[in-house]
Amino acid sequence: MGRQFVFVMLLAMTAVTGCKKFLTEKPQQQITAGSFWKTNDDIVAGIAAMYNGVQQQCSYNYFAYGDGRTDNFWVSQYGNLAYSINGLSNATNGTDWAPIYTTIERANDLLMHVPIIAASQEGQSIGAKASNNYLAQAYGVRAFCYFTLLRIFGGAPVWRVPYDSVGQQKFIARSSAEYLMDSLVLPDLLNAANLADTTQNTVWYVNVGGIRAMLMDAYMWKHDYPDAIYWYSRLTGTNRYKLEPTATWKNLFIAPQSSAESIWSLNWDWTVNGGASISGEIGAGNTNSQWWISDVIWSYFTSAANAKDIRGPQSIDFKATNHDKVNKFYPVNLNAQGVQIYPANNQANVYFALYRLADLLLLRAEAANCTYDTATAINLLNAIHVRAGLPAYTTATLVDSTTISNALLAERQWEFFAEGKRWYDLVRNGVVSSVLDPIMLKRYPTAQTFASDPRKILWPVNANDLNANPALVQNPPY
């Protein structure tokens, strides 16, 4: 028995020694959290991942938020009618704010680690200018995210630091939209404006122009016209931006880096990013669209009076008989029959024009109109109107601030068709119900109107988000 016992012990001993090392496996195709955030290269990779987050959150939702519920489109038989008939539910695509918070997490990660790396031995060579510009971008992108959240969902939970371990408090309740605006979006943007390297102006990144444009947009949302006008002047004060000429208007969407009007556009390369989802929604070669172009838009652009508007044929494919192809984001590529050839939805590059001068210029016109400076308003409006190939408005037609306001809204609708702006324009001007209800009722007599419950202007929060965080409260009445 003794001999046998020794055998057992020997076996056991050989097993135990060396086990600890044997059982340690390091990930082979990832890097552990502790080994990352050491060098300038890590920051560059982190910045790229943050913008990739912006791409992902815009891929589908930018359109769903900015155009999906508006009179620019009507849901086709392949889409979810809920968008068009004010029937959003807590499961509708777009109600999940996770993609936005993923970007926020990446921005927070940068805001935490960039100063530490910059102060470390390895980070000495980065320099204050570069590291500040990294921070400016993180602040800018974070503000962009929260600005979207507060406009679409109202209040939202505030995360200013990255979440990185299971022990950390994770159930955060929603702060109000006002809090988000005043304590997060505006301070972040002001921080970013201070930190940004004013020599950097690549359109693919939220450069100083994008930050100032966002500041103006945010103040417009607050109806704070003096501040909006101030930041417009700071934007134009960069002396970088001017309207794209009529002939090359399309460049804004197919080559924004070559246009002096582009302020901040999203880069897209389907070979590494996959296709932009929006293509499958409104114009891809391999699938039917989820949306039809609304009659409002279709009849405007196809009426004889507006034949000169160069934006129509460059935005909408009038040859698509079921009215479901938006060609705005693609270069002209015709087949032998003269019909546009669309990329497959998984091979589509869409350079979302997040901010371009025309947008800010018309916002400036809106601010002017709201501050009783109608001359400036008409002037600026005409800059866009005339560029589109149309005759200038005169005071004969734009007799008062209401007509100007309507003309501005209409101009923005035509100019920024499918660019994710219309919904915000309607909300900002308080005309969601008056514009959308009649159209909705005409097509769907039993639809519930915005007038009957204005709370439905906000989107519901997705059920999965609510489930995962018991501290969240749904937007009433959803």
């Binding site: 982190g46 913008y51 392949y78 539910s89 993923t102 990446r106």
Partner: protein
């Protein structure tokens, strides 16, 4: 060993009887019921000491006194038989296998045990039972053979079945598969085992049996032992089998006339009505076009033999399985060589070499068999010039998909196993083994231009490789000794280690310049989808077992295992798994003597044990940053994985209690095995969602529990046992119910379809409820009139009245005129009309929404049941198996996708086209055609069907050629058989087959229109030389 001993004893007998005077020389053969010769059978003349042994061809010679002499034939594991010689000079004697011999040795983890000494719930399946099934995979052959083991066979060529022992124990699909131990090697699957190589399969069902395999044994263990050579003349076996299969039944599908009816309803979107366009002028029966007579050809070769100190077994199998759908096939080749060598009585060497190759074209089910139902039958399959069409109006030509789309798999697996047994002292044996396994898989996919939906047409494809290298080493000591004649003690202790490394790559490409050459020099590589991958894991273990038996009457066993896994954080790496079991053979007690005449053996067993599960990702405990998917403006970004690492993760633990009763009546002619068990899994490894605001989507946690309770009953009987006719029958019944007893609050309660207006299946996951609860709306009716959407204040439906002119004249409630306020229901913000579906309004508000959902049924069968029969009359034997699953619901998503009107070029089933609501007053259950849904198509009971079925699963009629006939072709034995599978099925289910493979326990029982199961008929010939 036992057999050799018997032979030796018998030889001694023979030696002593030669002196006797005997007159008549009798020559005979002893064979088994299948016609194989039996060697070493002891043949004695009753009442004398005269006797002999049969040789390797089963032949014997003996001298008897006269016609009245009786011969007695006996062999271990076979029933003893007596025959009167009569006037015959040549005898052919068939020995039946004993139903179950209590002295049989059963393989348990790291050792063996006599069956009579078992204390746990173990089912043994013999090679004989498996051979009768003639399935292409071992898993399929196990169906119905063991109570508590649910085998769901797959229909596609080359596909493996799912096996589940005693219910779902966790939420992940990987965590619910049993552990396979193939000749001592731990494995996740048994797809590389040739069923004909299997000597026996032991299924360890309860925790006390399985716990010796600790970490991965929560779902039971299936131990597979392959064949070895048997002493005697070498045996060479050749078998050929041809099986033809056909589509068991066709489903109704709209013809072009019905399509036209449907197009009328569709109105403007009903395109493709152009009667002059050849593309739209066909009337296809797609099911006939796509399917063919399936054919399976199988050739087996095996050779085995043994001498005093070596034995070998080697086999080759070649299989060519041409599936029901054109161009779907699986081919495989399996090689195995088992060698044992014992140069001395103390040392024994085992070598096992195995190599397998499988290849097959996987048919895209969604684009073929399912597309065949979706695509309007009037769309052409061929162009006027005879070439195949591609994409018409958004629908692919399924025939072109079948013929031109490529999804080719090639898999290679080889393993090399070495083991030495060293007997240190007679009671103590050391075993050490090591195995290395290499698995490579290659997949090639290609979608030709003709099937492209792009404009202009583009082709695309991909190629991927993966390589897994796995090694394992085990060493253990077995000690076994009987003290004082009555006290049997066995001890086992050992250690093992294993590690596996996986590397893979995947390349995607588009725009192949030539569609015949699919290597990637022909295509342009796409960075998105071109990657290499690498991952590794390792495990180490210590284990031991002690058993004690007193006179075989009181039996005790305990096991311990300590497992370490690289998947957990450094502080939680190790898990301990304990078990204890006891058994009481009360038939040996004095007070049971009264029953000795009919009850041979009776044993009560009880066991308790813990088993574990570690089915999580290799690095789930660590927070990682990933690359490759976060490009922006030409720079590859690095971002945190959306799954947060959780270093506090630990083993998921399953505890199981089992009580069993083994009864043997009438000299083993009736065996009853019954077990009840409670299996409880705690600390479930589940993905728990993190608030989306953290930027992460989930993390793995230990939270939640599932409790399974069940009852298993096996009855094995041999009601008739005569010289020319015997009949044996086996019943296996399994009843089981699993309930989620504790649930992570953050898990989404709705699994699957969470939208409020889509038709695919949804499940409710809730504490206190079983897994697999279908959750949705209950359809009451379709409103006959617009005015039918009217209710009183209690939400009771009002009926509209009409005057003679047909004008609405008011409402009545149960026959009485109703004048109160009228309420109406809204769906998705819209008031419902005639032709819309009325769903049960559970919460009594005016809106049909998520709050009106309810549990509609459950996807798990209430019980499953198998009856296996074997009848032999002289040289004919007939065996068949009937399989039953009862009480489960299946969500017919295949029909739902056709019938939901969502896509204008998908044609509903003819029944729907004919019965859809069209006019005010139509009474039907099929809603009106609506281009945009207001919620008429929801996850509802409309497509939920009863999945119960009774199936005649296998049948075989066998004829054994007389030995003399076999000898004419220089064979030792030969038999021929007709074989059939899936011959008959009774079910109310309306799609192809209610037996579904469901790998995800949270989303089971949804039929998406999978590959149809075939009805097979085959013929085979088996010759042993």
């Amino acid at each position: 060993m036992k057999r050799m001993l018997m032979q030796a004893v018998a030889l001694l007998l023979v030696a002593t009887v030669h002196a006797q005077t005997t007159r008549i020389k009798i020559i005979g053969y002893v064979i088994d019921p299948k016609g194989s010769p039996l060697a070493g059978v002891s043949v004695t003349v009753k009442g004398t000491e005269s006797g002999t042994l049969s040789d390797s061809s089963g032949r014997f010679e003996i001298r008897v006194h006269g016609p009245g002499s009786r011969l007695v034939f006996s062999l271990v594991s076979y029933e003893t038989k007596e025959e009167t010689v009569g006037k015959r000079m040549k005898l052919e004697v068939v020995l039946n296998e004993a139903s179950s011999s209590m002295n049989d040795v059963v393989v348990i983890g790291y050792g063996t045990q006599r069956k009579r000494d078992l204390t746990g719930a173990i089912t043994t399946i013999s090679s004989k039972q498996l051979e009768e099934r003639h399935t292409s995979s071992l898993g399929d052959a196990l169906q119905g053979l063991a109570a508590g083991v649910l085998v769901t066979t797959a229909a596609e060529p080359g596909a493996q079945p799912t096996i589940q022992i005693r219910g779902y124990s966790t939420f992940s699909s990987a965590g619910n598969t049993p552990l396979y131990v193939i000749d001592g090697i731990l494995s996740d699957n048994m797809s590389w085992v040739n069923p004909d190589d299997v000597q026996s399969v032991e299924i360890l069902k309860d925790a006390a049996s399985a716990a010796i395999y600790g970490s991965r044994s929560a779902n039971g263990v299936i131990i597979i032992t392959t064949k070895r050579g048997v002493e005697g003349k070498p045996r060479i076996g050749v078998q050929y089998l041809h099986v033809s299969g056909e589509l068991a039944h066709k489903l109704p599908q709209a013809n072009s006339k019905e399509v036209r009816l449907y197009r009328n309803e569709q109105g403007s979107s009903g395109v493709s009505t152009d009667s002059l366009n050849p593309s739209y002028n066909a009337d296809n029966d797609y099911q006939s076009v796509l399917t063919r007579i399936a054919a399976r050809d199988q050739v087996d070769f095996s050779a085995s033999g043994a001498s005093k100190n070596t034995n070998f077994y080697t086999s080759i199998r070649a299989l060519d399985d041409q599936g029901l759908i054109y161009n779907s096939y699986a081919k495989s080749l399996f090689f195995r060589t088992n060698i044992e060598f014992s140069p001395s009585s103390r040392f024994r060497y085992f070598g096992r070499m195995q190599f397998g190759y499988t290849t097959g074209n996987v048919i895209d089910e969604g684009n073929t068999i399912f597309q065949a139902f979706q695509r309007p039958p009037n769309y052409a399959l061929y162009n006027p010039d005879g070439s195949l069409t591609g994409y018409i109006s958004g629908r692919r030509n399924p025939l072109t998909v079948v013929l031109d789309q490529v999804n080719l798999n090639q898999n290679y697996n080889g393993s090399l196993f070495n083991q030495v047994d060293f007997t240190i002292v007679p009671a103590l044996k050391l075993t050490a083994n090591a195995v290395a396994t290499y698995t490579e898989t290659r997949n090639q996919q290609f979608l030709p231009k003709i099937l492209s939906s792009n404009n202009p047409l583009t082709n695309s494809g991909s190629e991927s490789f993966s390589r897994v290298i796995d090694w394992q080493a085990q060493s253990y000591l077995n000690y076994s000794r009987t003290f004082g004649g009555d006290h049997l003690v066995t001890l086992m202790a050992g250690t093992s280690a294993e590690s596996s490394q996986t590397n893979g790559d995947n390349e995607s490409a588009v725009n192949y310049v030539n569609e015949q050459v699919l290597t990637l020099n022909s295509g342009t590589i796409v960075p998105n989808g071109t990657t290499t991958t690498a991952t590794a894991d390792s495990r180490a273990s210590l284990f031991g077992r002690a058993t004690y038996g007193y006179k075989g009457r009181y039996l005790f066993a305990t096991t311990i295992r300590r497992d370490g896994s690289s998947r957990f954080g450094p502080d939680n790496r190790w898990g301990d798994f304990l078990s204890a079991s006891a058994a009481w053979r009360f038939s040996d007690e004095h007070f049971m003597h009264w029953s000795a005449g009919f009850l041979d053996d009776a044993k009560f067993r009880f066991s308790y044990g813990q088993t574990g599960n570690e089915s999580i990702g290799d690095y789930t405990a660590q927070t990682t940053y990933n690359f490759g998917n976060y490009y922006y403006n030409g720079i590859s970004g690095i971002a945190p994985s959306t799954t947060l690492g959780n270093p506090t993760l630990q083993w998921e633990a399953t505890t199981q209690q089992d009580a069993g009763l083994d009864l043997s009546f009438f000299r083993s002619r009736l065996l009853i095995v019954a077990d009840v068990y409670i299996k409880k899994t705690n600390n479930l490894l589940t993905q728990s969602p993190l608030p989306a605001e953290t930027g992460f989507s989930n993390y793995e946690v230990n939270y939640g529990s599932i409790r399974n309770r069940g009852f298993e009953l096996s009855i094995i009987g041999r009601p008739i046992l005569r010289r020319d006719f015997d009949w044996s029958i086996t019943y296996n019944l399994s009843v089981q119910k699993g309930v989620v007893t504790q649930l992570n609050a953050g898990l989404p309660a709705i699994q699957g379809n969470s939208a409020d207006a889509a038709g695919n299946a949804a499940w409710l996951l809730q504490a206190g409820q079983p897994l697999g609860n279908f959750y949705g709306w209950r359809q009451l009716r379709v409103y006959p009139y617009d005015l039918s959407n009217a209710y009183n204040a209690q939400w009771q439906p009002l009926s509209p009245d009409f005057d003679q002119a047909g004008n609405f004249s008011g409402y009545n409630f149960q026959g009485k005129a109703y004048t109160g306020p009228v309420h109406s229901l809204y769906g998705k913000g819209v008031k419902l009309k005639g032709g819309d579906v009325e769903y049960q309004n559970l919460n009594g508000d005016s809106v049909i929404d998520n709050n009106d959902r309810q549990i509609l049924g459950n996807a798990q069968p209430k019980f499953f049941f198998a009856v296996m029969n074997t009848m032999r009359y002289k040289k004919f034997s007939l065996s068949f198996t009937i399989n039953t699953q009862w009480g489960d619901k299946v969500y017919n998503n295949a029909a739902q996708t056709l019938d939901n009107y969502a896509t204008s070029n998908i044609i509903p089933q003819p029944d729907v086209i004919l019965h859809m609501w069209r006019h005010q007053g139509d009474v039907t259950q099929v809603p009106a055609y609506l281009k945009t849904s207001v919620g008429d198509i929801r996850m509802s009971n409309r497509f939920l069907e009863d999945g119960s079925f009774i199936r005649l699963a296998y049948a075989q009629l066998n004829y054994t050629f007389p030995i003399q006939a076999a000898h004419k072709i220089f064979a030792q034995a030969a038999n021929a058989y007709i074989y059939g599978s899936n011959l008959l099925m009774w079910t109310n289910y309306s799609w192809y087959d209610p037996e579904l493979i469901s790998t995800n326990p949270l989303q089971m029982g949804q039929d998406n229109g999978s590959y149809p199961r075939r009805r097979e008929l085959g013929i085979g010939l088996n010759i042993t030389f």
